[in-house]
Symmetry: C2
Amino acid sequence: MNMNICLMPGDGIGPEIVTQAVKVLEKVAKKFGHTVQTETALIGGAAIDAAGNPLPEATVAACKAADAVLLGAVGGPKWDTIDPAIRPEKGLLGIRKALGLFSNLRPAVLFPELAAASYLRPDIIGQGLDIMVVRELTGGAYFGEPRGETVVNGERAAFNTMIYSESEIERIVRVACEIARKRGKKLCSVDKANVLDVSRLWREVAIRTAAEYPDVALSHMYVDNAAMQLIRDPSQFDVIVTENLFGDILSDEASIITGSIGMLPSASMGSGGPALFEPIHGSAPDIAGQDIANPLATILSVSMMLRFAFGLEKEAAAIDAAVKAVLAKGYRTGDIYVGEGEKVGCSAMGALVLDAI
Amino acid sequence: MNMNICLMPGDGIGPEIVTQAVKVLEKVAKKFGHTVQTETALIGGAAIDAAGNPLPEATVAACKAADAVLLGAVGGPKWDTIDPAIRPEKGLLGIRKALGLFSNLRPAVLFPELAAASYLRPDIIGQGLDIMVVRELTGGAYFGEPRGETVVNGERAAFNTMIYSESEIERIVRVACEIARKRGKKLCSVDKANVLDVSRLWREVAIRTAAEYPDVALSHMYVDNAAMQLIRDPSQFDVIVTENLFGDILSDEASIITGSIGMLPSASMGSGGPALFEPIHGSAPDIAGQDIANPLATILSVSMMLRFAFGLEKEAAAIDAAVKAVLAKGYRTGDIYVGEGEKVGCSAMGALVLDAI
Ligand SMILES: CC(C)[C@H](C(=O)O)[C@@H](O)C(=O)O
Ligand SMILES: CC(C)[C@H](C(=O)O)[C@@H](O)C(=O)O
């Protein structure tokens, strides 16, 4: 198979971690008889600096022409005071919309080797943690219209619209049901239906859609309660499906409790076109350029890419196994180092995974 | 002093815990030479059952006529399938709006006696936890107009409006600054200004308002990051100020990590009229009527009432000290029992606090 990958290293540690991940991709491809072609495109702050625009036309075109997209991370304090219309984040939101990436899969997994790094009490973590957060990614308050500023009673007021249509809800719930079916068969839909109209429609459509998956047990939880339950008893969750803003908050919460946030990949998919894969963590500008970032989340994003974009299960498993082997040998980047094993930098960690493949 | 209190026991465990709290209030009042008059009003499911309306006119009138309001909790599965227009929660939202209670103070405190009950790793909890979440309570998506359902491209869509005016932001930031000034002098304003227009105005007005409090150090954090930081390093926070929906989520998260959620009171205040005090926890219908609920959060809500509504600092301190004494003696309700001390029920716990005053 030939794989056409668009790389968007982005800002901060983005370029370093993408470099390591590409090496891993190329090695796996070679080993299994595939070929890889990569093209690099600008996004975020890097694109603002080079082209005055966080998402140049050429980037959108390059992504659309690719089979899959690998993103590093975007943003940083350098662009914090820039005109909001061209902030780095606009690049990320723009490419999600341009590629129709409505479904964002964010696994929150505790790597047994890293159990000591989890932030929760050991007895809560118990036998581990494996939650898949399915976040709707192109709707809700992120994109809802109208939005902006107005004048109410002689003073300024600003507003956004949280809006979902039936079909937007249906398609993301369907994705979540399909995933739940292949896992623990439990789906928890998170909303705020006791307060929000948009959540009441969400719940109604979730019930209707999940009814087509009788093997999947659907439950509902209010978002405030979900924020508590993730801490009180995270192992009650299998798959969580929720709207864009709640998903932003809850997926970050779910991933930090594992203590392995530098390890967690994500996939953003649409219906048919190229999907986008990226680490869950941010651009970490404070450690950029020092060769100390953890490349494993990006390397595991390549594994997700092989599995979800190309259906290459064996190839993906080879990466997962290599990462596990390196962890088992005790190698750790600074973010997951808790006093034991050997601390290594970004490129050294990349090389270790390469060797293990 | 004579104190006119409107009691709204509400649903589930509400009546049990309010009963204990009122006994404590009466004892403290007597001890310090005050008088208490109480009136009881219906709210939530109890009001739906009795009057077909979660917030009868008479309840609003009784609250307005009182010096302060003590609420138990509202809601339960019994009313889950009821017409959304008259759900129990509407009573709570309605009384907040009717009394103009724009400022909701939710302390997340780790009781040293209960440190073992915290859900976080012991080394993260370290020397304790004392965060005050100041949540805006009458604005944002909870009340924003327009809201409802519409038809877009031939299908149903539902929507809410997240909206804030300058004066709404200013007054809540001012409350938070005043509180921070009396505590650690650090204020973290939480928003999603990298995505939402409403958050950009929030941040702008927060900066402008906090500038009048040069002794208070203002910082900003995105809501997704805040959800992580509360777990990664909660002791970095002193006072957090945020909008209604983010505050709903983050205050629940902050209170659960203490492990002491059955202990945490809250205050909701407006500008001038009667304030409302209630435990942070919900109506816990599963344990209602069994005399096993923890009345301490409601008892501590009375302490907050004495302090904030009546300026009776000594009286409030007497309650706080009694609660501490009872905990120090090892008495625990089921929710905070972690294997040591003596397990007691709701009325027994109330009696113990009474004795300690
Ligand atoms: C950078 C930001 C716009 C983005 C989001 O809010 O979606 C990020 O937090 C994420 O979760 O990918
Ligand atoms: C019951 C519900 C309407 C309420 C809210 O969302 O404000 C509750 O969660 C709270 O935090 O007091």
